[in-house]
């Protein structure tokens, strides 16, 4: 598994298609980091070959990024916590 900070992670993910779809796994029980994410209406349709990130293991801070024909897992505790927290806020009837 590769180590990566959040800035380099976003740079890699964004460079692949110019857009990153973030899909979070079930939420962490623990409190997450800063509450910076703002819910919005998507401005575009899902792009072709979307870059998808999901929390593989929130406790370990593992985030898996699927992009193109590849899949790689990174350790980024801050990002994993933010994704998990965003996911926990979305619970309920959709």
């Amino acid at each position: 598994m590769e180590r990566m900070n959040r800035r380099s992670f976003v740079k890699v993910a964004g460079a692949a298609t110019g857009a990153a779809a973030l899909v979070a796994a079930p939420p962490l029980a623990r409190a997450a980091a800063g509450d910076e994410a703002k819910a919005i209406q998507p401005s575009t349709d899902v792009p072709d070959e979307p870059v998808v990130a999901y929390v593989r293991d929130a406790e370990r801070g593992e985030v898996t990024v699927v992009a193109g024909a590849t899949e790689r897992t990174y350790r980024d505790r801050e990002l994993a916590q933010r994704l998990s927290k965003a996911g926990s806020r979305q619970r309920g009837v959709s």
Binding site: A21, P42, T44, D45, V46, P47, D48, E49, P50, V51, V52, V66, A67, G68, A69, T70, E71
Partner: protein, 456 residues
């Protein structure tokens, strides 16, 4: 069934469900091998208006191992693309389809074929047309011409076809899944009923076929055309598989509903020997088996050594299989037939041994020429060109494998064993109609049309 709906996961995904894989020396062109992989089980011919087709989001693969390591040295990959000529009608066709380019045909598929060897890949053909499904006398009045036009000779030497065909596999499905019943001998069953003729529900159903004819010299390790059946290089391991992308996102976006895929390919279906996953692998492991490659099949070896069906037969047919019931040793005969191939010295003039690595693959000895008078029972019927030497479209694999599991082949590894007399009565009891198959590529017969076969 051979591998129709054989595992919980893949049974919900018919376009990726590999139902049968065949591999044989082409009877009308013996310098070539024909490999067929079928998908979309149990197609009812009248299933419109969105008739059956391949999956645009599926990677279809044919794998060839030519050095006995149970890993593919060669892969042929197929990708499909559907196009709609007129989105403002509900109809598949707006008039008779008389040619592959006919403007009356509204929803059609094309495909790309790629050959992969190691890190090298080469596109052999693109924008290759599939035929339409066989609809009826008004829509597809000359279906044979459409199907013939969809046989493509590639500049690289291969011949390909992809489209609907008659399903050549035959079995009394309704009986066999009713607690292993065999209608013609069901008075012997644990829950007896009067004997009755076998029924073949697949005789009116279609399937989607990918057929590939390849010069033998393009498949063997050294580029030769082996003529000595005892040579190890004469044996090819062959299997088919289907894969999907890791991620699929369904989006009801601004431009309408769409799905988008991303990520590496994940295998969801595979098939070498008929009935392997279906009969030998337990329910809880079937989807895992589908996701694996033959090289790792040692993990499933115990299910071949001690097959569940061999224990069930003496229970389901009380008193009919006393010798099988007493047989507790590992089934080295089944391991050889299905997982390593038969070495020389077991069946005179025959071997299809690929080495000690246990792996589910069809094993085709290409040095054995096509039979002049084929026997659907293959090797156990004295016809060395048939299953388990590869598999021909008409081989009665249900009878062969039932007999083998029932003990018919155990004397190959233990001459002191006497098969039960009932082994002779274990059979599919089916003889497919002649039009189920054809003598030329793609060898499976013309698909049933929905007008004349409306109620399957």
């Amino acid at each position: 069934m051979s591998s129709h709906r054989e595992a919980p996961g893949i049974s919900t995904d018919p376009v990726a469900d590999n139902t049968d894989t065949y591999a044989f020396v082409s009877p009308d062109d013996p310098s070539t091998v024909t490999i067929i992989t079928n998908y979309v089980p149990l197609e009812g011919p009248p299933g419109g208006p969105n008739f059956f087709e391949f999956g645009d989001d599926v990677l279809y693969s044919i794998y060839i191992d030519n050095d006995g390591d149970a890993k593919p040295e060669i892969a042929y990959q197929f990708r499909f693309q559907t196009s709609v000529r007129n989105p403002n009608t509900f109809l598949y066709n707006t008039g008779p389809i008389t040619a592959l380019g006919d403007p009356n045909w509204n929803k059609r598929q094309h495909y790309t074929v790629q050959r992969v060897m190691g890190q090298e890949s080469r596109v052999l053909g693109s924008k290759l047309a599939c035929p339409p499904c066989n609809i009826g006398p008004r829509s597809t009045p000359n279906y044979n011409a459409l199907a013939d036009a969809a046989v493509h000779q590639l500049p690289s030497g291969e011949t390909v076809f992809a489209g609907q065909r008659n399903d050549g596999f035959f079995v009394d499905l309704g009986a066999i899944f009713d607690l292993g019943d065999i209608r013609p001998i069901q008075h012997l069953h644990l829950i007896p009923t009067p004997d009755a003729p076998s029924v073949d529900p697949l005789k009116t159903l279609n399937v989607h076929t990918i057929a590939l004819k390849v010069p033998i010299s393009k498949l063997t390790k050294d580029g030769s055309v082996p003529t000595d059946p005892s040579a190890l290089k004469a044996v090819l391991g062959i299997w088919g598989a289907a894969s999907r992308r890791k991620v699929e996102i369904r989006d009801a976006g601004k431009n309408g509903y769409a799905t988008k895929e991303s990520g590496p390919w994940v295998q969801v279906s595979r098939l070498g020997n008929p009935l392997f996953n279906e009969v030998l692998i337990p329910l809880g492991e079937k989807d895992r088996w589908n996701s694996r490659n033959p090289f790792g099949d040692a993990a499933f070896l115990s299910h071949v050594k001690q097959p569940e069906l061999a224990k069930l037969l003496p229970v389901l047919y009380p008193g009919a299989f006393p010798n099988l019931q007493a047989l507790t040793a590992d089934r080295a005969d089944l391991v050889a037939i299905l997982m390593t191939g038969l070495p020389s010295g077991i069946v005179p003039g025959f071997q299809n041994f690929t080495g000690k690595t246990p792996a589910d693959m069809l094993r085709l000895n290409v040095a054995i020429p096509p039979a002049k008078s084929p026997n659907a029972l293959g090797v156990i019927g004295g016809d060395l060109a048939g299953f388990p030497n590869g598999r021909r479209v008409f081989d009665d694999v249900v009878s062969i494998e039932l007999k083998a599991v029932a003990g018919a082949t155990y004397p190959l590894v233990d001459s002191s064993y006497t098969p039960d007399a009932a082994v002779g009565a274990v059979s599919s009891y089916l003889t497919p109609a002649a039009d189920r198959y054809q003598s030329t590529f793609p060898y499976l017969g013309v698909p049933h049309d929905g007008f004349d076969t409306p109620s399957s």
